[in-house]
Symmetry: C2
Subunit: 229 residues, 2 copies
């Protein structure tokens, strides 16, 4: 076997990869619509335009399909966040970059977002085969952030605190605020979510100057409590 042959993917492998990708995309749509438990593999197969049996040529079980669909996106997210943070300079810019990458994903991949938002609790808490790898990936992203925070604390740009816990907190805030926006609880306009989260994380709510919370457009007065919607 030549070098070229070992490094190049065979026609079969390329096709298999393509098909897997299609299946995972279809799966994300269905899991987003129904949630993990209510989703059926019949529906996933239909969505992917193949027969149910074919799913089992590419994946061994429903659980594996789900986890593969989620992992794919999480790995991408981590990659992008890492490189965005590396490119930025200074603690503020790095945090904003990390936030922006997550915001970007939320905006562009509604299916993944919905899965992430609704299944997060189960992903973390219930003893499925994929709980451990999920936690590890989630924690790894938090650790990437925590390194930035820790560097900021050393340089004096941040006040000292527990870096990993603060990093997790920031990840939580982002997920939650996007959930809330998605659910229609957060105002749809006049509130830049990424800015809102950054500002809160950075400054908190107490008054330190006459400057208003920058999440509010200066034109608009502080919003009044809104009715349920």
């Amino acid at each position: 076997m030549t070098r070229a042959e070992t490094s190049r993917k065979t026609r079969h492998e390329v096709l298999a990869e393509f098909r897997s990708g299609e299946i995972l995309a279809a799966a994300r749509r269905v899991f987003a619509r129904r949630g993990y438990d209510a989703a059926t593999l019949d529906e996933v197969a239909q969505e992917a335009g193949i027969a149910k049996g074919t799913l089992y040529l590419y994946f061994p079980s429903k659980e594996e399909i789900f986890w593969a669909a989620v992992r794919e996106r999480m790995l991408e997210l981590r990659q992008r966040a890492q490189s965005a943070m590396r490119q930025a300079e200074g603690i503020q810019a790095r945090l904003r970059a990390a936030i922006a990458v997550r915001g970007e994903l939320m905006r562009t991949d509604a299916e993944f977002m919905r899965i992430y938002l609704t299944e997060f609790g189960h992903l973390c808490a219930h003893p499925t085969r994929y709980r451990k790898p999920f936690r590890e990936l989630y924690l790894a992203m938090a650790r990437d952030l925590a390194e930035v925070l820790e560097a900021g604390m050393k340089s004096g740009e941040l006040r000292p605190g527990p870096p990993l816990e603060l990093a997790l907190t920031l990840q939580f805030l982002l997920r939650d605020c996007f959930t809330a926006r998605y659910m229609g609880v957060f105002a749809d306009d006049g509130l830049n979510l990424e800015n809102f989260v950054f500002e809160l994380f950075w400054c908190g709510v107490r008054p330190q100057s006459a400057r208003p919370h920058p999440a509010v457009k200066s034109a608009a007065p502080p919003r009044r409590l809104q009715k349920t919607r």
Copy 2:
């Protein structure tokens, strides 16, 4: 029918209420262990020490049992939070009181906490019969908090900002941090969760004095990144 008769509960009603309570408590234990979907009514009945058919004398469906079990505790939580906030004086004390009440529930009712943490996403997002009332109750609690925040903004104790969004954010933070603690991701010692959340919400992470983040015990140095556990 005399006045006394209309206001007093009959023996039958008292017993029925007691039995319902037992069922809901058993249901909370089972839903906490298994999650909504994996929980079976056979197990709930066994846990309650009754036959499955008996469940249906008190509740019409699995969904209703679940929602009744959750609602009961959420209503209690709201009551307690309201009265705690009313008793406290000043914005700081009121926020701390609201946090303390939630922390207290998390500490004393592990079953409810686990349900709340793991099913939150589904509760919010999926079109079940109980989604709307759940959202309303959750939002109502946020609005209670938001009123306090808004008063603080008017009095200048807080910088201006969107009150409902900030209130929701605080609720999110609390749930998430308790989830993290519960999952063993947050440090088990040296980190007072209620204090940590309050401080972050109040001050953010940027340096404003030499004072370290009070969430860290002064004796302990800032914690290093920890390995997955």
